[in-house]
């Protein structure tokens, strides 16, 4: 596709003026020149965006890969380390921990909000245009609009030892389980996960609802006539119709779990111990506090690759569904 424009404009420009009629070769070359000239305005329009993208994204991305192959403290001369940083990444439990934590967070950031969102939307769909449902659109988007940092601060307070969560538990007679949820080794990760679930659940629900309002009501009539109950109806009609939205919700929430940083930085700083340490925070810590630039970069490459590996297959599914 892009081939015809690959020759340089200077080389073929003369052919344009002295083109002997009938000579296919030179005509082709002239064609190329003309197309390149026609393409020049387009290239110029893309140039500024490409410039910023290349300078502040592609260049540091390449540098991350480069740094990851060195042992460097940010000050003295870097030493070639080959794949050492990557070997440590997969053998050192302290470095695998954050990655495992990130995958565990997927349960809270993604699985719970998506499942809850799709079920809730299927029920609400039936009165999707009522005043209550319209008001819910505004309310449920609040967590998406505020900074994650603010969500972190709010929930740190809710989950504190004398916070609302414990107050509520005591109220229903569960005094025994109250604790500082974010400070307890057993509950810190789920507690952080709950914050993520709170942020994501509204978005998931509204995405699903948007998908479901496009479904032809006749399909439901037909399902009911065939004697399908609410559950059969859900699996036979509703779920297939929102495949694309479902894919989108999964992709967004999974990415938000893998690259979680803001919430955890604010609420636990990765603690207690390393109980809630995630790759993003570990990169930050390694690079700017431990001064292990190489190791931090290897983690950054791993995180970037991980997100791609998880997202690409999901993306293919939703894209092919939507184009077919």
């Amino acid at each position: 596709m892009a081939r015809p424009w690959r020759s340089s404009p200077g080389a073929s420009a003369p052919a344009l003026t002295e083109e002997p009629p009938g000579d296919i070769r030179s005509r082709r070359r002239a064609d190329k020149a003309r197309r390149l000239r026609a393409g020049l305005p387009g290239l110029l329009l893309v140039a500024p965006a490409l410039f910023f993208y290349a300078l502040f994204v592609l260049r540091p991305l390449a540098a991350t890969v480069q740094y990851s192959l060195y042992d460097w403290n940010g000050i003295t001369t870097a030493e070639w380390a080959g794949l050492d940083n990557y070997v440590r990444l997969v053998t050192d439990p302290d470095l695998i921990g954050p990655i495992v934590n990130a995958f565990q967070l997927i349960l809270y950031f993604s699985v719970i909000p998506v499942i809850f969102g799709v079920i809730a939307a299927a029920i609400i769909r039936k009165f999707g245009e009522s005043k209550l449902a319209l008001a819910s659109r505004t309310v449920l988007f609040l967590p998406q609009v505020i900074p994650l940092v603010a969500a972190g601060i709010m929930w740190t307070w809710l989950l504190a030892s004398n916070g609302l969560v414990n107050q509520g538990l005591a109220l229903i007679g569960l005094d025994g389980v109250t604790r500082a949820w974010l400070g307890d080794f057993d509950t810190a990760l789920p507690a952080v996960g709950i914050i993520g679930a709170w942020v994501n659940v509204g978005l998931c629900m509204l995405l699903m609802l948007a998908g479901m309002t496009k479904i032809d009501p006749a399909l439901y009539e037909a399902a009911r006539l065939d004697g399908a109950g609410a559950i059969r109806e859900f699996f036979a009609v509703t779920l297939p119709a929102v495949k694309q939205e479902l894919g989108v919700a999964i992709i967004i929430t999974v990415i938000s779990a893998l690259r979680s940083f803001d919430i955890i930085y604010i609420s636990t700083q990765g603690g207690p111990g390393n109980a809630t340490l995630v790759p993003g925070l570990e990169i930050y810590r390694l690079a700017f506090f431990e001064r292990e630039i190489g190791q931090a970069s290897a983690m950054a490459v791993a995180l970037t690759a991980l997100v791609l590996i998880v997202v690409l297959p999901l993306n293919r599914i939703t894209r092919s569904e939507s184009t077919s």
Binding site: V46, P60, L61, A150, I153, G202, L206, I252
Partner: protein
């Protein structure tokens, strides 16, 4: 088909429950902010005396006027430039014959899922070499670059769907590419550009990682970054922290409530396209 009353009731119940869960944290924050500063109140309890002056105190002690100015400056640096250059690029990729079009498309798509953490380390050294650490430019310039994949894809998706006839008609009338862009396409693209503007505004305002890594001075950060510093400084004074958080939340909440329709539409579309 009318839903049965039991289904309706269940649906209402779920909806109200989710709305409550969403709202209650904001209410706790608000109620706690009214307690006497320096105390450690229970989660949801009304103070004996309402300390409205906590908001004034938080505003002054955090130098919030400077924080606001800085955030606005950063927004003004990021959003217009990002909008302009992504619209140009999206127009070219979506509507013009551009050499290496497919390659460029793939290159931009690559950046869509990139976690900012993936490039933050070299970015720090790069910004340091430019001598821009601890200035608003340290956030503005990288953020423009980081927004490009989404913004260009967004505008391209919009321009691809513009009918080619329009372009042909304009060409017949003797319009140049530039005129075609400014006179024909831009006026028709206002909704797409407005939605993108909302998303970029929001993502800039809430940007945290770049702010804490590249700018030490909280008064030169984005609002989210400033809030992080505020927590570090006032984390032990819960009522004051809550008051400060609310103050920092207020501008974005006001903007959201004013433009809520556009926001919801933009965020949903943004999710699907991104």
């Amino acid at each position: 088909m009318r839903p049965s009353s039991r289904e309706l009731l269940l649906g209402r119940g779920i909806l109200i429950f989710v709305m409550l869960v969403t709202i209650v944290p904001f209410i706790t924050l608000f109620v706690t902010a009214l307690h006497p500063p320096g105390t450690y109140p229970d989660g949801l309890s009304l103070p004996e005396e309402y300390h409205w002056d906590n908001f004034v105190l938080a505003f002054q002690s955090a130098d919030m006027a400077k924080m606001l100015t800085s955030s606005v400056l950063i927004e003004l640096g990021v959003v217009p430039i990002a909008l302009l250059i992504s619209t140009l690029a999206g127009f070219a990729l979506g509507h013009l014959q551009v050499p290496f079009r497919r390659t460029l498309f793939v290159v931009f798509i690559l950046g869509l899922t990139l976690p900012f953490e993936g490039i933050i380390v070299p970015l720090y050294y790069q910004i340091r070499d430019y001598g821009l650490l601890n200035t608003q430019w340290a956030i503005i310039l990288p953020l423009i670059g980081l927004f490009m994949p989404f913004a260009v894809m967004w505008m391209r998706a919009h321009f691809v769907n513009m009918p080619q006839d329009l372009t042909e008609a304009a060409k017949v009338d003797g319009a140049s590419t530039w005129q075609l862009f400014w006179r024909v396409h831009i006026p028709l693209s206002r909704p797409a550009i407005a939605s993108l503007a909302i998303l970029l505004f929001l993502w800039t305002w809430n940007q945290f990682l770049l702010a804490i890594v590249l700018v030490d001075d909280p008064t030169k950060r984005t609002m989210a970054g400033a809030l992080g510093a505020f927590q570090g400084q006032w984390g032990t004074d819960v009522p004051l922290l809550c008051a400060g958080s609310l103050l920092i939340l207020t501008p974005v909440l006001i903007v959201f409530l004013v433009f809520q329709r556009q926001f919801v539409a933009a965020l949903l579309q943004g999710a699907v396209k991104g």
